[in-house]
């Protein structure tokens, strides 16, 4: 029997070798992404997968490094006038789009203007902008109406929406309409002919790319493609993805579900590591338009009972893969602090919470938590919150559907009896939550993110932060924002967690960063 097996195996391996020998010449990095790439436009969507695709294909004027500093990327040099109203940018030599055309000032201006119509920080910059002017093909100017200290932070924004630079003819597309071409000047070229949505995305090395001289650091520095071809293989089933990685059919799996970590750790050919220093932040979001969470006291009551340790375990499965974060700004980043966090951080106090509920005048109104069972991070938080509210004696109904339904339902401003909602959960990557600029902190009623909170005081403090000009005053302003946020409670952070990556041990050079970058990675 063993002989038969050995012969069969030899036969199969011979066939496989014959089939694969032709393809073995070039270095191909096979990468299992966190989700499927469906939208090519990194400006119309904030989906992280499209952002990551953007970093493959496009380049940026500025970029954030591991010290949270904004570094020039496509820009060679820049100047700010004495009145702090005019920026002059000069592009680096040798920048070329994948269609062979040089990158010009006009391309940069059109790209930034389109991004400025969609991104929250970009909109802030656009509000302060008087004009963008191309001096020539390599030099362009930004004239501001009033000083905007976060100009470079906006242009070097790390996460969605990233101000990627695309050719002017593409960047002229309506910002609410998806672009259909992916032509950038980044280190990899997108191969549209080989794109099979729901299955495979192919990139090849951009041999014309001129990297910077500095060492790579997050999105800044040299972006050197060290493989000839990158294939994103979307594998929807996590057990199959684990098997594919174990069998060497894939080289790198971007985000591991917690239950498969122990399995892959046993494989000597696979490394399981946290390559995201900031992780992600879980969140309870309230509907401020409808009872009962339009009542501040009820929101405050929850601060006294939410136990972040439970949420860490619920989401990440193990305390090694997450930790508590009693700050409105991502822990481990310059603006994070625990100022005002006592209600969330202190001993869990159900009596205090019940007292606040009584003071809120809660009359047993139904609380609808909308959840998505196809999103474990969302659903685990929803289950914990529902249980928590029931323990407080509140009238809770957990309505679970799929993510597609949740993100539609959360747009409803109706009462729960008419399809509305009271609470939903989500999560954000760390870089999205590092400052008061984050979308969930906007408090402008209808113009706010889902839930539509409106707190003039908090908005005023946010504005003050936007106007700060140095790190010390920025920190002070951010502390004031947080203090008011713990009073008003626009949302409650539930945990800071990490979904580790797994990769074959023949890979090296992976950049440890809050966004997955595929340059600098070598495959032996």
């Amino acid at each position: 029997m063993k002989v038969v097996f050995a012969l069969l195996r030899a036969f199969v391996l011979a066939l496989a070798f014959a089939a694969s020998s032709a393809a073995a010449q070039e270095k191909v990095l096979k990468f299992i992404p966190q989700s499927d790439l469906r939208i090519l436009d990194p400006i119309t969507t904030t989906a992280y997968i499209t952002r990551n695709h953007g970093y493959m294909v496009y380049d940026t004027l500025f970029a954030t490094n591991a010290k949270f500093q904004i570094q020039p990327q496509m820009v060679n040099k820049w100047e700010l006038s004495r009145d702090k109203l005019t920026y002059t940018f000069t592009l680096r030599d040798g920048l070329k789009f994948h269609d062979g055309q040089p990158v010009r000032s006009a391309d940069c201006i059109a790209s930034i203007e389109r991004w400025g119509k969609r991104d929250s920080l970009g909109q802030r910059l656009a509000q302060s902008t008087e004009s963008w002017t191309a001096v020539n093909d390599k030099i362009f100017k930004l004239r501001l109406k009033k000083p905007f200290p976060l100009t470079l932070d906006a242009l070097g924004k790390l996460s969605s929406n990233v101000p990627f630079i695309m050719p002017e003819r593409i960047a002229k597309t309506d910002p609410f309409q998806n672009i259909t071409e992916a032509i950038g000047s980044g280190p990899f070229k997108f191969v549209k002919e080989e794109w099979v949505p729901g299955s495979k995305v192919v990139y090849v090395k951009n041999t014309d790319y001129v990297p910077r001289k500095e060492a790579p650091s997050w999105a800044a520095g040299a972006k050197v493609a060290k493989v000839d071809r990158v294939e994103w293989i979307y594998i929807p089933d996590s057990a199959t993805a684990a098997a594919a990685l174990s069998a060497g059919e894939a080289d790198w799996w971007e985000q591991l579900p917690p239950d498969l970590i122990p399995l892959l750790r046993k494989n000597k050919d696979v490394r399981v590591e946290n390559i995201d220093p900031l992780g992600s932040i879980g969140m309870i979001r309230f509907n401020f338009l409808q009872p009962p969470f339009n009542n501040q006291k009820l929101r405050q009551a929850l601060l006294y009972v939410v136990n972040q340790r439970d949420y860490v375990l619920g989401i990440a499965g193990d305390e090694k893969n997450g930790h508590t974060c009693y700050s409105f700004f991502t822990c481990g980043t310059p603006l994070s602090s625990e100022i005002g966090a006592e209600p969330l951080k202190g001993k869990r106090d159900f009596d205090k919470a019940r007292k606040l509920i009584q003071e809120s005048g809660y009359k047993g109104e139904k609380i609808v938590i909308i959840s998505a069972t196809d999103q474990p991070i969302v659903h685990s938080q929803s289950l914990l919150t529902a249980d928590l509210l029931r323990n407080l004696g509140l009238n809770v109904e957990l309505q679970a559907g799929d993510w597609g339904t949740l993100i539609t339902r959360r747009t409803s401003k109706e009462p729960v009896e008419k399809g509305g909602w009271s609470i939903f959960h989500t999560w954000w990557v760390g870089p999205d939550m590092i400052s008061p600029a984050n979308m969930a902190m906007v408090n402008l009623g209808d113009k706010s993110w889902f839930g539509w909170p409106a707190d003039p005081r908090l908005e005023e403090l946010r504005q003050a932060w936007f106007n700060t000009t140095d790190p010390a005053s920025g920190k002070k302003a951010a502390d004031a924002v947080q203090l008011q946020a713990f009073n008003f409670v626009p949302y409650i952070t539930t945990a800071q967690f990490i979904l580790p990556a797994a990769y074959r041990s023949n890979l090296s050079g992976i950049i440890v960063a809050p966004v997955t970058f595929l340059w600098n990675v070598e495959k032996k």
Binding site: L40, T45, T46, D174, A247, G401, M439
Partner: protein, 313 residues
């Protein structure tokens, strides 16, 4: 016969028109908004409204339906809301994997299940029969995904004989194509094999008790000739019916198999489209499915004549 075929094809068009109206209405009423999915988690309600307007999703039902039907009559199934690729292109990318998987499963299942069913009927009441029936109950009971994981664990991870996942087109060579389909076909086909084997056995038992079989045995025909030439041919109608129904089952069953083995087939295209509310794809795929089902039924009906000359159309 020709009139019958034309009449059935005419009925196919009516069925597809009804399906089109039903699917469009259903999607219109289903909760979910592709604009919200496109906009992403950080977008505002205002952003979503503007994207909805851009996509024409705010138009009244009849305007949207009329536009869709108009394009359909010109052979245009529309464009995916998300990828901006034509639905025909997306379906075209996915047809080969699903057809390959379905056909290979069908071939494996029929080649194994029909002889097994015949043997079980010929040896009814013996241990062979009980073994076949026991195995078929087991095959019915094991969910496709469980069997798939077991097969991957054994043949891909432990023995390293076959790939874990993915699909390679036939143009890449016979072995790359076949090697990616063997495990999925076995996983998908096991239930189907059990189904055909049981029906074959039952149909054969019915035929084997007929007088003409006794006559054939009495006149000294070899048992194999009696089984294949006399019995199996006459048991063919129910078996063919089951195979026809099975093809429809295979197409729907392929969704799970395609997901587990990461095969980019029609099944996964459908599920992904439903999850993100990509209406043009859902409509296109369901129309395709309904057309395929109706045609399969027509072919099954026509094939009855091959087995039973008494049937007239």
């Amino acid at each position: 016969m020709i009139v019958y075929v034309l009449r059935r094809l005419g009925a196919t068009l009516i069925v597809m028109a009804v399906v089109a109206l039903f699917v469009f209405s259903l999607l219109f009423l289903t909760p979910g908004d592709p604009a919200a999915v496109i906009a992403g988690d950080v977008a505002t309600a205002d952003d979503i409204q503007r994207i909805r307007a851009k996509l024409g999703l705010n138009e009244p039902f009849l305007v949207q339906f009329g536009g869709w039907v108009g394009r359909l009559l010109h052979g245009d199934l529309g464009t995916s809301i998300f990828t901006n690729l034509p639905v025909t292109t997306l379906i075209g990318q996915r047809v080969q994997p699903t057809v390959s998987l379905t056909l290979l499963t069908l071939v494996i299942a029929v080649l194994i299940a029909v002889p097994v069913g015949v043997v079980a009927a010929a040896k009814a009441g013996t241990w062979t029969d009980r073994l076949v029936m026991g195995c078929s109950v087991l095959a019915f009971s094991v969910p496709v995904f469980v069997l798939a994981y077991l097969l991957i664990g054994l043949f891909s991870i432990r023995l390293e004989w076959l790939p874990v996942q993915g699909y390679r087109p036939f143009s890449d060579g016979l072995w790359p194509w076949l090697s990616h389909l063997i495990l999925p076909s076995i996983a998908l086909g096991t239930v189907y094999m059990a189904f055909i084997a049981r029906i074959t056995r039952a149909a054969m038992l019915d035929v084997l008790s007929q007088d003409y079989i006794r006559t054939a045995n009495a006149k000294g025909l070899a048992p194999r000739a009696v089984l294949t030439r006399h019995a199996l041919k006459n048991a063919g109608v129910p078996i063919i019916t089951v195979i026809g129904i099975g093809i429809a089952l295979l197409i729907s069953g392929a969704i799970v198999t395609e997901t587990v083995f990461a095969i980019p087939g029609i099944g996964r295209l459908t599920v992904d489209a439903i999850l993100r509310r990509d209406y043009p794809i859902i409509q296109g795929v369901i129309l395709l499915f309904s057309g395929v089902y109706v045609l399969i039924n027509l072919l099954v009906d026509l094939s009855y004549r091959l087995f039973d000359p008494r049937i007239r159309y």
